[in-house]
Symmetry: C2
Subunit: 419 residues, 2 copies
């Protein structure tokens, strides 16, 4: 029997009516001849309620107990979804993480999959059940404790099941109807993509397009799981949404597939640091220890060489990080200065920046993308503060107030509105 994995996020199962709506989509696939594994999130708001209780109880909570409490939300949805399907005459059974079992590491609140044995669920399919409704976001540790995968983990659960059960496809039902060339709230020219390559989706996911969790895309890429993103709230068929797939499955790809952006960026510059081997690790070691997600890093030769106050060679170091980590980053750097492991004259923080990126696997074989991007921004008088590139992505840090303008200019320059 061919098998599908279908995942419904929190807004797609927010109340009993929406669960019914989601169940109808599942039933349709069963009628098409599929066995279905449904992965469900907690009803939207539920996880926040549970997290709120845990944090109010114990600010520095024990992650084992956090997981035990928070995973309840998905268990409730799983049971309700199974009941809803039964009401529609679809034989369904719910599965909590330990029942499958979804074996994970013991890294509570950020557990990773170890393996997902197929025996128990397949035995139920063999008995005539058509649907296994699995609580997303959770698993069980080697010690038999409930684990969770971290926020957005239900996407990853879905992909892991699709890989383990060799599903024909993994459909992620969400509150948008696919992956767009950019956020339609920024430009009405934004166009839904029919297909996007895993690598592109990975860059888009990590750049702030919050449709899919990054880890789920990584996992899908590794196991070549065909991922489809589509809307819970529209009628959908086999051509709906956006297919995230291997680049070989994309016939003709454009040079640039999308423009991503992130408002939540900050730029931190250390002025006048020693220019010597080991200085970068002296700076970024303490930041890593403090859990700072350092993103773009730029090092410039400073003008200040041969300054009397600084007889050795000196330089400046600039990096970006999420804006809500700035205070922690500042403290880590100041502590390192106090401890004498790094020196700098001045620490400048710019919290008014945004990151804009163009992404496309076509860049690999096309020169001139960076030049076109910089020219488009320059035409709009957008000053570039930091540049960073990867094989399929060019990112710039700019003043936040120019962000929307920059996205629109780049969307136009690369003609993303055209299919």
């Amino acid at each position: 029997m061919p098998l599908l994995v279908m995942k419904f996020g929190g807004t797609s199962v927010a109340d009993l009516d929406r669960i019914k709506n989601a169940a109808a989509k599942v039933k349709r696939e069963v009628e098409r001849g599929y066995d279905v594994i449904v992965i469900v999130s907690a009803m939207s708001g539920k996880t926040n309620e549970l997290v709120g209780w845990v944090e109010a109880t114990s600010p520095l909570f024990d992650a084992r107990e956090y997981d035990a409490v928070v995973a309840s939300g998905e268990n409730i949805t799983a049971g309700l979804m199974a009941l809803t399907l039964q009401e529609m005459d679809v034989p369904a059974r719910s599965w909590q993480g330990w029942q499958v079992p979804i074996n994970t590491t013991a890294a509570h609140s950020s557990a990773r999959f170890v393996d997902i044995p197929r025996e128990n669920i397949n035995a139920k399919f063999a008995e005539g059940f058509k649907v296994a409704v699995v609580a997303g976001f959770q698993g069980v540790s080697p010690e038999g404790r409930v684990t969770t995968l971290g926020r957005g983990g239900s996407d990853t659960t879905a992909v892991a099941f699709a890989a383990a059960f060799k599903a024909e496809r993994c459909d992620i039902y969400t509150d948008v109807d696919g992956i767009y060339t950019t956020d339609p709230r920024i430009t009405t020219k934004a166009r839904k993509l029919e297909r996007i390559a895993f690598e592109e989706m990975l860059e888009l996911a990590s750049l702030g397009a919050k449709v899919l969790q990054t880890r789920s895309v990584e996992l899908a890429m590794r196991y070549k799981v065909k991922l489809r993103v589509l809307s819970s709230f529209e009628d959908t068929d086999e051509n709906s949404g956006t297919l995230v797939c291997d680049e070989d499955d994309i016939m003709e790809s454009k040079v640039v597939s999308g423009v991503a952006f992130s408002r939540e960026e900050a730029k931190i510059t250390l002025f006048t640091i020693e220019d010597r081997p080991g200085v970068a690790s002296a700076i970024f070691g303490p930041l890593a220890d403090a859990g700072i997600n350092v993103d773009m890093i730029v090092q410039n030769i400073s003008e200040k060489d041969y300054d009397e106050a600084h007889p050795g060679a000196v330089t400046d170091m600039t990096f970006s990080c999420p804006i809500n980590q700035v205070a922690r980053a500042k403290k880590a750097l100041e502590d390192a200065k106090t401890a004498g492991t790094i020196q700098y004259d001045e620490l400048i923080i710019d919290e008014d920046v945004a990151k804009v990126s163009v992404v496309g696997i076509g860049m690999r074989s096309h020169a001139g993308v960076a030049a076109k991007m910089f020219s488009a921004l320059s035409t709009e008088n957008v000053n570039i503060k930091v540049i960073s590139t990867s094989e399929i992505k060019i990112s710039v840090l700019i003043d936040r107030k120019y962000m929307e303008l920059a996205v629109q200019a780049l969307h136009d320059a690369f003609e993303l509105e055209k299919a």
Copy 2:
């Protein structure tokens, strides 16, 4: 290490502050040198919310999925209680039913304990944990599905753990401060009992004193678990509340320990039925099949013997049942009449009755209790409709409007206000 079981009901863990208050009581016992197994209910209101969702989804729900959904409430409290204890520097770990495991039958929503292996929890105690917080009301079936014990099941969980772990005592913390000679809302003379025998408590529990679930008392009696009922909302010490214990542990017991009552009764009389062997089973068989909890049964020789219309011997049959089962009982009897398995001339339903009972193990060795009871009621002009007796209980059915008067009169007659 001596071990205590402490159980906190829904109102005792209704919010984070109350959980904190309950945890303080646990901590005090740990400081006294006990290992503690804490059994928790769902935060009050939670179970109703979950049940509401299940019933709205699927009126004739699959009990396996009902159990999976509804048991989540206790899991949440267990995790929050463990976190609260940790915050108070008490090493605590939460346990869901499958983790212990609490092995039950597969009778979903009314499962019974099969066994509770001690190994896993004892291993944690050996590691230095002082408290195991166990989700009440739930277990796991032989098929690895979540089961629940039915409403009030957390009391039963507590007693079962006390029996399995040979606890020194099982303390049931609730919203009343003990067992009273009768409901203090009926008479201010009601007095809290220091001790009460299991048998008496069983009669009181099944007669409508809703402090303890009947099954939990049965289990405590069978395994000689010392049960204590005491208040979550007061300062308590080792002498607080009421001890439910073996009658041998009660030095001098009164003839009557308490007066119980139930408003929710109805009386059903079948007039003119055949007086022949097998007629009772022809009547009560269909009632049992319809799930009617028939309580008191009285059969009278009818005046109508030798009536022309009824040439054989005839009689009347009266029984009582919970008022919310009257409609179902009526239908079962009418169906049986239609089917021809029973005959009767008339079916009279009286929904304006109440049951009042006096309970006491002292009755076994004292004559005249019934006489004293009937005399007290007669003095107040309360007419008795049905009488039923057991070894340690006398119950009467009376007009509901006399119920409070009857309870007060009996409380006075047996001088229950005196210790």
